[in-house]
Symmetry: C2
Subunit: 204 residues, 2 copies
Amino acid sequence: MNSIKKDNTEQKIMDAAHAVFLEKGMDGARMQEIANEAGINKALLHYYFRTKQKLFEAIFKRVIKHSFPIVSKTLLSDIPIREKMDLFIDSYLNLLSKNPFLPAFLLKEIHRDPEFLANVIKGSGINPDKILTMLGKEMDKGNIRRMNPRDLITNIIALSVFPFAAKPLLSIMLFNGDQKAYKIFLQERRETVKEFIFNAIFLK
Amino acid sequence: MNSIKKDNTEQKIMDAAHAVFLEKGMDGARMQEIANEAGINKALLHYYFRTKQKLFEAIFKRVIKHSFPIVSKTLLSDIPIREKMDLFIDSYLNLLSKNPFLPAFLLKEIHRDPEFLANVIKGSGINPDKILTMLGKEMDKGNIRRMNPRDLITNIIALSVFPFAAKPLLSIMLFNGDQKAYKIFLQERRETVKEFIFNAIFLK
DNA sequence: GTCTATATGGCGATAGAC
DNA sequence: GTCTATCGCCATATAGAC
């Protein structure tokens, strides 16, 4: 009975904290707001997680473990590179569409506490080296234009992430603040980003 | 005599605030740290700028006016599109190399106060519409591959800015935290980014 | 486990002497 | 103009009743 109650409350706190932290970041988030969102009071937050820092770390790990593997899995599967790229960009942009706050959140925390970030990533089963060698092999086979594989990864992530991270600025600069138009723009980029990348890396 | 002293102090404050705000952002910056950096005390900051908000706005305007025009000027000059792109990317990456905190700073403030950002940008003489029509004309002439000009602008900015904004993450993921290697990587991107973009937009 | 009330500390801002 | 001392607020964290 107690344990059921505990699980429920802990879950409510996690979900509330997840929502608030993702939107506001560690510094911008308020324990009061998380408590409100969870339908409890501040003291209970500390009862379950002791400090704001520990609560944040729990959420951060959850976010990383939930986000990164989804997109990196495709990259090591055994299908032709063009389809692989297609699938990867699809699943990546899909993830971002469902979690539009993710890019800004990660960028903030990247600068707030890089060491912690490094530890969480290392513990989440991501293996950049494998991806880099995979890309190198495709270049050796002449399937994609020769370039620094690190550039290629960086470019794909940049083209996918940046429009979400810079949304408020770009919607003003490119669409005079029209949010609806920007949403359509992001939607269409699911295809146009692929075209751009494919033109850049595949030999005609 | 008073006026000389005033100018000196005000300038020292501006420079100190510039350094601190750019690294920490509005929320992360502390008036105490700015005072230390300027070699004065907190009270004097308020004497000159009344509030932290007003001090920040002064710095923010200075940053925008100093950064944006430099890169946008090239885009409306009357030279062939390939050279124009070349020059633009050069000057852009040059600006970022000299101000590596700029991308993270702008991204933070983009989300903190979009309305203020919009006003400052509008007042800084940037004209996105002119750039968009310029790109459209080049496409009409068949000089560059046809695409949404907004995508093209977004992509160029993304490819330039993102590696600076995500530096702590990328240096871990791609170089196991080796800062020196990452610096070389950024340096080499001055050329590789251009190649990537040119392959994507120019017809062979 | 959950609540109310309160302690503790940090930071922006002000008062007032010089 | 510049300083020291202090106010007032807000946010995290804890004490203690239920």
